[in-house]
Symmetry: C2
Subunit: 358 residues, 2 copies
């Protein structure tokens, strides 16, 4: 944990700031240990202030016992006063801060206005995603949590689909999958499980319905167990009953693209280049019109985080990044095919954590 705060201090230095205000729940958790989420955009559960030699996690007085029990050295927990942006501004002044970096991507305009007023002449420097980047390379403990989440996800997928028959609705299958994840030891699903059957599969994001699954149609299942705050992310496309030749052809096109990507992605590549490993295969198969999203994204305390694997991404892959590799093809009126593995970027390539059969 000292190391994490040390890396935050390095990020502060690049911003020429002598204080860091951390308000994004994932960054706050990673850096302090306090696991609470925010309950709404305007209902923060706390901020971490690193200034001088101090690292304080400030939260409501009623949260203090929980915070004291969860923060890790060198972070200490302390109660804030409301309105907290005003309290924070005064704290910056009392601490003799010269330039405070804040998360402009995780602070609402109203809180920023109060903070700016209260901080007086202390400049507030937008940190962009600098504090997120401190979390980008996962350590062994994090990878162990993510691997366990992936393994539970694989097992739950298998358990819940083993006896799947036509007539089960999307929502019923979602519940079977989520129940299985929980029973296998997950803290819950890390994001709302997607079951998109038949034509609904043409939507990469889909709110599951009471539509009964039919034999022979593609069923896209996108799911992820959560363990220690880390989510897995797995997509498989299956058929109940006999697949059509059309399904088989499309499935094999996506699988070949994913296989190519898994074999080619390496540290040092940009997200754009990684994306091209699968995209080129899909384009070569004449399916360009049916690609509607990038290849993948980083996964950690957030289900979508740095780096992005997409056709406009300059993010550079490094060992210790955990990313999805999920090419897909989508056909309006027919459905979709997506195959997604969660992978660790290693020194030489990527190692899939997802092991569910394809």
């Amino acid at each position: 944990m000292t190391d994490r705060i040390g890396r935050l201090r390095e990020a502060m230095a690049t911003l020429d700031a002598d204080a860091a205000i951390v308000t994004h729940p994932a960054n706050r958790r990673y850096l302090s240990g306090f696991p609470d989420v925010d309950h709404a955009p305007d209902e923060s559960s706390g901020f971490l202030l690193v200034a001088g030699d101090d690292a304080g996690l400030y939260t409501s007085p009623t949260n203090i016992p929980w915070a004291e029990g969860s923060v890790r050295a060198p972070v200490t927990a302390a109660p804030w006063e409301q309105p907290w942006p005003q309290f924070l501004g005064e704290l910056l002044k009392k601490s003799g801060v010269k330039r405070a970096a804040f998360e402009d991507r995780a602070m609402i305009v109203a809180d920023h206005a109060v903070l700016t007023e209260a901080a007086g002449s202390i400049p507030l420097i937008p940190a962009g995603i600098a504090f997120h980047l401190v979390r980008a390379r996962k350590d062994d403990a994090e990878i162990a949590s993510i691997a366990r989440a992936a393994s539970i996800t694989d097992a739950a997928f298998l358990a819940a689909t083993a006896t799947l028959a036509p007539g089960v609705t999307e929502r019923e299958l979602v519940w079977r999958l989520e129940l299985a994840m929980r029973e296998l030891g997950a803290d819950g699903p890390g994001f709302p499980t997607i079951v998109a059957s038949g034509p609904f599969g043409a939507r990469p994001h889909h709110d599951p319905t009471d539509r009964p699954i039919e034999a022979g149609e593609p069923i896209v299942i996108d799911m992820g167990a959560q363990v220690d705050g880390y989510s897995a992310d797995l997509t498989r496309t299956i058929v109940v009953g006999e697949p059509s030749p059309e399904y088989e052809a499309r499935y094999n096109t996506v699988l070949a693209a994913q296989t190519a990507a898994l074999a080619s992605i390496k540290p040092g590549m940009t997200g754009r280049d990684a994306d091209a490993t699968a995209r080129d295969a899909l384009v070569a198969a004449g399916e360009e019109a049916h690609i509607i999203h990038g290849l993948g994204h980083g996964v950690g305390l957030l289900v979508h985080e740095f780096p992005s694997l997409g056709k406009t991404s300059d993010d550079v892959l490094e060992p210790g990044h955990v990313v999805t590799v999920e090419p897909g093809l989508y056909y309006e009126g027919w459905g979709g095919i997506r195959i997604e593995d969660l992978c660790v970027v290693t020194e030489t390539g990527v190692e899939p954590l997802s092991q569910a059969p394809k």
Copy 2:
């Protein structure tokens, strides 16, 4: 739905704005019908723009089929281009907007900076909670959803605690409660279920642990099923085995305070006056030192929303508000007692939706 947009237009008029930018997920859902949540502070799922005669829900192209299937007239769905704050600023200019109200409590600083630049000379007016207030009085359909959520919550509480025995851990009981809610028809829990046993009950917010429940100690259970996006909110404090005289005395003090509150709260009261109905009873019983939070809060598409029932709240209760009434007492080292009912404010008082025995 037309009526909802009509009330939004009234709120715009009070802000002297001819356009409203709605980004808070709860307000966006209420006003447009599109149910998606935001995945992170800097990962919006869409905005609603009401300007002139138009009401457009803008979201990512991949979300469009889902959005088209869920928006309700007069709202129409349309794809945005990224970065969306820039797209939005250009849209404001194209639409000839003079003054645009935006949610300063639901827009991050970084998005606001891009929007401000792109909107050029069009003033952006902070709306505060004005768009939330459009949702404050619940209509019959909303109250029906909330009542169903409350009824499922009551039944799940009873089912999961009926055979509770010492040795069950907090986390195991949480899972029993959440499973029961789901099996009884909830879409899931509306917020993380709290089981705080023995000394942990001294924390109003608590992350359930693997601590086994012991006979005779207070167990605070705070839970709520979600139905149609609406959460119930119920707290009961129970004992497995024989309650101590101390427990009984403290329990009865809280129950008497809650009973007084339920009998006294009426529309027209401020949140401060509503809070006093229970606080005065607890203070009269000599327990002032053990009060650590206000009496309650509004509940709707958000678990915590307007109005606030607390000792500094000027919010005024109106028929159709749905609020919690949840006095509590907390003793460091011993535990807590909290009793919470979800209630509808009627023309003459409050009507509890929660029916679980006390």
